[in-house]
């Protein structure tokens, strides 16, 4: 099945590029690999029929957030390859605990049984119309939507406050 191959391909790309994000010495490469990861995840979204979400994902992550990261890295001139102060001990500790976490989580979620299958054809679940209906419905996500605007305001004030030069 072609979708199967596509899944494995995208998964391979996303896992590999995620690993490269961690292991790249140069932060700029990390950013680029992260963008690649995001694209492959967007691919998964399309695969799962979440078309609108996939597009939004690319717009938000690849288009805005990662540009910001890249911008900061360029601005702070961090495209160096050295990373002082990393001890072997801390690397070993990180590897071991990361490994333990993965082991435990994989083992705990391995035996998932009794999952119900989708009720009906779900190709329209991820459409803009449907999402809009759920998002703006009276018993939907209206309140969180408004709350999120408070979140944006708070982060605006915070970012401006922290970045602004103090008036002396």
């Amino acid at each position: 099945m072609i979708s199967q191959y596509l899944f494995y391909f995208l998964s391979f790309v996303s896992v590999m590029s995620a690993l490269m994000v961690v292991f790249s010495k140069n932060p700029v490469y990390s950013v680029l690999f992260l963008i690649l990861t995001f694209f492959s995840i967007a691919g998964h979204y399309f695969l799962l029929n979440a078309q609108f979400l996939g597009m939004v994902h690319i717009i938000v992550y690849a288009g805005a957030i990662m540009v910001l990261f890249l911008y900061v890295i360029m601005m702070l001139n961090l495209n160096k390859e050295d990373e002082p102060g990393t001890t072997t001990m801390s690397k070993i500790a990180a590897t071991i605990s990361g490994g333990i976490l993965m082991l435990v989580l994989v083992a705990a979620t391995r035996s998932v049984h009794g999952m119900e299958s989708p009720v009906a054809d779900s190709s329209q679940i991820g459409s803009i119309e449907n999402l809009g209906k759920v998002l703006f419905a009276e018993n939907g996500f209206l309140l969180p939507f408004e709350i999120s605007s408070i979140l944006f305001l708070a982060s605006m004030v915070g970012a401006v406050f922290l970045s602004k030069k103090e008036i002396r």
């Binding site: 072609i2 399309f46 029929n49 078309q51 601005m75 190709s123 944006f152 970045s163």
Partner: protein, 126 residues
């Protein structure tokens, strides 16, 4: 075509996907071709920033202005806010007046934020 059908995905997105493929293909094509066509002479001297004989000190990019950064941050925030508007716009009719009110509240918050930013001088470039 077969591929897309097997994905069960809506055909509405076919043009967009094609556009992505074309764009990606074009970029990679150009990059490969330039590598292939262009002359390659690598040397230490050539990689230097300046070739006037004086050793370079420091880095060319050290001074920066925080203002530009703030603009970038605010762009991200407004960019994400916009994604909430697509679903609203598509459902504009069915949501009716209530939906209008909801979105206006949201936009009013945004405008207050925007006003705040303007007055704080966060967007001034000098």
């Amino acid at each position: 075509m077969i591929l897309l059908q097997s994905l069960n995905s809506s055909r509405d997105f076919l043009p967009i996907l094609l556009m992505f493929i074309v764009a990606a293909g074009f970029v990679s094509f150009v990059m490969v071709v330039t590598q292939w066509l262009g002359p390659k002479h690598k040397s230490k001297v050539k990689a230097d920033s300046f070739e006037c004989g004086i050793e370079q000190i420091g880095n060319a990019r050290s001074p920066f202005s925080i203002k530009y950064f703030l603009v970038a941050i605010l762009f991200v925030l407004f960019d994400v806010e916009v994604i909430f508007m697509y679903p609203w716009a598509v459902n504009f009719k069915s949501l009716g007046a209530i939906g209008m009110f909801e979105m206006f509240t949201f936009i009013a918050f945004l405008l207050i934020g925007f006003f705040y930013i303007l007055k704080k001088g966060a967007l001034k470039w000098d």
